[in-house]
């Protein structure tokens, strides 16, 4: 098989694994647009990097992380819903990015192209990068899993137990942001935002408990990526959209088997 297809498959499996795993929290905490917000916000970092002549990816990660943690901060501060805060931070940081870009002299960088990574263009470096991030993410998630869930279910009990709810939340947001930003670089924002929401939602439709939700989510994410890449290969379709199409169809099918 073509080495590029092999790398795409590896990238697809790894990113869909990570996204589907943390996506369960994303969906349950009603932050379905977190990925959008963080990645769009990172454009302000790219613009800043252009202005200060630093590495755009560093700028993107910096501002993206800040935004992710900022969601947590402002939700706490304002007591508004997290989707509202995300809905505020996205245009806000975009507007800052756009204003910054307007100060760049000469031929202006195409910011948006940072959001349209393509899974077929996965490099070896990307694979190492995603593996390198997977390991700490999986370890931290495994350690904090119970607390993440407890905070989502019953924040009062978590506080009574003396957990540093705010810190745990920041850690959670930071992990989430990191996964989103790196996945976006590799497979592009549209695919990432689909991988974060659709497999968990599918799993929620048919799972009988929390454990199953995680397991099904990961299975649907990975299966969808592999099938999608296969379909795009055979039918000569753009790969990202093909994956999204496949996981969306799985979602629609899951509605037929819905449990309450």
């Amino acid at each position: 098989m073509n080495p590029i297809i092999i790398r795409s498959l590896i990238a697809g499996v790894l990113t869909s694994f990570l996204c589907a795993l943390i996506g369960v929290f994303v969906v349950l905490r009603k932050m379905s647009f977190f990925a959008h917000a963080v990645s769009h916000a990172s454009l302000a970092g790219v613009a800043l990097a252009y202005l200060t002549n630093t590495n755009p990816f560093v700028g993107a990660i910096g501002v993206g992380l800040l935004t992710g943690v900022g969601v947590s901060y402002f939700v706490e501060k304002s007591q508004l819903f997290s989707d509202t805060i995300i809905g505020i931070l996205l245009p806000f940081s975009m507007s800052i990015g756009l204003i910054l870009v307007s100060f760049v002299k000469g031929y202006k960088p195409d910011l948006m192209s940072y959001l349209f990574g393509d899974i077929l263009s996965t490099s070896k470096f990307d694979i190492y990068l995603i593996i390198a991030i997977s390991i700490p993410v999986i370890i931290i998630t495994a350690i904090l899993m119970k607390r993440f869930i407890l905070i989502s279910v019953d924040i009062d009990l978590a506080k009574i137990r003396g957990y540093n709810v705010i810190l745990i939340d920041y850690i959670f947001m930071a992990i989430l942001s990191l996964i989103v930003l790196i996945s976006t670089k590799i497979v592009g924002i549209i695919l990432v935002s689909a991988l974060v929401v659709i497999p968990p939602a599918t799993a929620l439709n048919i799972s009988r408990n929390m454990r199953e939700t995680f397991i099904y989510s990961v299975i649907f994410g990975i299966a969808g990526s592999i099938l999608g890449i296969g379909a795009s290969y055979i039918l000569n379709l753009p790969t990202g959209p093909a994956i999204i199409f496949v996981i969306s169809v799985i979602f629609l099918l899951s509605l037929l088997f819905k449990k309450s």
Binding site: G106, Y107, S113, F116, S232
Partner: protein
């Protein structure tokens, strides 16, 4: 037949104008494949699995570089094919224009890019050096002659002031003596300020600009208010060719020059 097929040099180009160059210089000796088919924009292109299969089998890829082909960036390292930056000799020019990559729209630059293509073909297939050299000379001559003729057509126009949407045409304008007063850049990242828009309207009035040029892929109603206030016409310039009416490089510059000529005459 299959023998000759397999002995052919297999080449890929990123954008359509280079396809014409390779075709014209390599003739039957070369099999060429264009990644960004006419109609699509290299700025937003994403590779398909089919592209990858095609790229597997080529020995060289000609690219314009300077940020035009973002889609190639990360696959390059894993391709067996050699990637040749045809704009290498024009580095300084690009720098002067703040990194604007649309070099090929100036026939002189395009000829230089074609020369890089020719040199590469010669290097890869030295046996047919003479054929390539000869074809290149003919190609160059045809382009420069046609270009000079077209330039003449525009030179006599009384008013050569135009405004463009996208920043694709500075090199083109440079060669053909068109005066691009302003480029509006209707791009999500490059939003204009009220001053700029007002300035553009003032420029349009001051220089009696009759036409604003856009690209065929981009939504045109973005600057409709300027159009409404100043009654300028909006026409499409094509930086790449459509593969149907505009097949060759000379077609491309002829189409663009004629479009401008018709609008300004």
């Amino acid at each position: 037949r299959s023998k000759t097929e397999s002995s052919k040099l297999k080449v890929a180009v990123t954008i359509y104008p280079f396809y014409d160059a390779v075709k014209s210089i390599g003739g039957d000796l070369v099999d060429v494949f264009v990644i960004v088919l006419p109609g699509s924009s290299p700025h937003t292109y994403v590779l398909t699995p089919q592209d990858l299969q095609n790229l597997e089998n080529v020995s060289v890829i000609f690219e314009n570089n300077f940020g035009l082909e973002e889609f190639l960036k990360s696959v390059i390292s894993s391709l067996t094919a050699r990637v040749v930056n045809v704009s290498e000799p024009l580095k300084n020019v690009v720098e002067l224009h703040n990194g604007n990559p649309h070099l090929w729209l100036n026939p002189e630059y395009f000829v230089i890019q074609s020369e890089v293509i020719k040199n590469t073909l010669v290097e890869l297939d030295p046996i047919h050096k003479d054929v390539y050299e000869k074809n290149y000379e003919n190609y160059k001559k045809a382009i420069l002659n046609k270009a000079a003729e077209l330039r003449q057509k525009l030179v006599n126009l009384p008013n050569r002031n135009v405004i463009t949407f996208h920043d694709a045409f500075p090199y083109f304008a440079e060669y053909f003596g068109i005066n691009i007063l302003a480029s509006i850049e209707p791009d999500p990242n490059k939003l204009p300020t009220p001053k700029q828009i007002i300035e553009i309207e003032n420029l349009i009035k001051k220089y009696n600009v009759k036409v604003v040029f856009k690209e065929p892929q981009l939504s045109s109603d973005i600057y409709k208010s300027i159009v409404e206030d100043t009654h300028v016409k909006v026409l499409s310039l094509d930086p790449l060719g459509d593969g149907v009416k505009i097949k060759t490089y000379t077609d491309l510059i002829e189409y663009n020059v004629n479009t401008i000529y018709d609008a300004l005459k």
